[in-house]
């Protein structure tokens, strides 16, 4: 058996209670071609340095917890294989465009507020009334929004988006795609109130269609496409309201 191969991980470290500023710390980890970056970080946490702090859960691209910058690119670390970087060192940093709480952990507060703002749930007055049976949908009605419902809130798209980094009012790719997802759901009646949020200020208009959100999305949601579709809906609404100033507010999907 050959001598054990290793590779280097350079990890962003910051403990706000003791560090005046962030620093990088290098760790040698065993190289295994089946390992992903998250395996290596977990190995460091278990065997070398228990103070290293990071988020993770499922290890299989479902939970959306382990998003980090890997050599400058936003990645799910559970899906970033060491063999794609070996033998060069791998630099691991917290997702950019978010405040760092500790080491590789970022604050989710701003993201959660934006997610809540688009009312990502079905809105209708008779939501509790099941007397008429289920709300049935045809395969075509499901197909209208299914792609946009695959988001796992991993926030890679926010780290990839140049607008999300400098425009606070911008709701960002995941939240807008999710709002669009409910606007396209045949069971939903909340489109008008959702659009009031999505079309205010820079909420959606901050997007200049860079498209990186779609490029980095691990679930192929295509938030950039969702945002452009939502802008087209907004333009139609604008001219419809202009043509019919009264009584146009409650038009459904």
């Amino acid at each position: 058996m050959p001598a054990e191969q290793t590779m280097t991980l350079e990890i962003f470290r910051y403990h706000p209670e003791t560090d005046s500023e962030p620093r990088f710390q290098a760790y040698e980890v065993p190289y295994d071609e089946d390992w992903v970056v998250l395996d290596a970080i977990n190995w460091i946490k278990d065997h070398v340095d228990g103070t290293l702090t990071h988020r993770w859960s499922c290890r299989m691209g479902v939970c959306g917890s382990c998003g980090m910058m890997v050599n400058g690119d936003p990645k799910l670390t559970c899906a970033a294989f060491l063999k794609d970087y070996y033998p060069r060192p791998v630099k691991v940093e917290p997702l950019v465009n978010f405040p760092v709480e500790r080491d590789l952990v970022v604050s989710l507060d701003g993201f959660m507020e934006k997610l809540e703002a688009v009312k990502p749930y079905i809105i209708r007055d008779d939501v509790n009334d099941t007397s008429g049976g289920e709300y049935l949908q045809s395969p075509a009605e499901l197909a209208r929004y299914k792609q946009y419902s695959m988001c796992i809130n991993c926030m890679l798209c926010y780290a990839a988006c140049p607008v999300a980094g400098h425009e606070d009012e911008f709701l960002g790719p995941a939240a807008l795609a999710l709002g669009h997802r409910y606007n396209r759901d045949s069971r939903d009646r909340g489109r008008a109130e959702r659009l009031d949020v999505m079309l205010a200020g820079e909420a959606i208009w901050g997007c200049t269609f860079v498209g990186e959100c779609t490029a980095v999305c691990p679930k192929h949601v295509d938030p950039a496409g969702a945002i452009q579709q939502a802008k087209a809906v907004a333009a139609q609404e604008y001219f419809r309201r202009f043509a019919m100033p009264r009584g146009a507010k409650d038009a459904g999907a």
Binding site: E167, V197, L199, A200, G201, T208, A232, A234, E237, Y238
Partner: protein, 116 residues
Amino acid sequence: MKRSSEAFWWALFSAGGVMAALFVPAFVIVTGFLLPSGDAAAAAERAAGFAGVVGRWPVRVVLFGVIALSFFHCGHRIRHTLMDLGLRRFSGPLKLPCYGGALAGTVWAAMLLWAL
């Protein structure tokens, strides 16, 4: 929350992008390569025939749509590029030169097409 009027400008930008993408390459090929090709006399004859087609009213209307919307596409893109380059807080005042310029170009195009 008040909905932004950006939808209006984005609609012009979007329509202008479609027009530019569909028509401008064709214009370049026709006026830049096909019309001037061959010997000078044949090219002049083709150019005269082309001018006759352009003078027809339905063609003038289409040309006006392509030119005007392309101007607004350009103005909107310049405005947003300037915002991205650090002038975000001037997003309101930037509308005047960007969309005003597009409007001026539109009026100019209308006058030229009218006088054909």
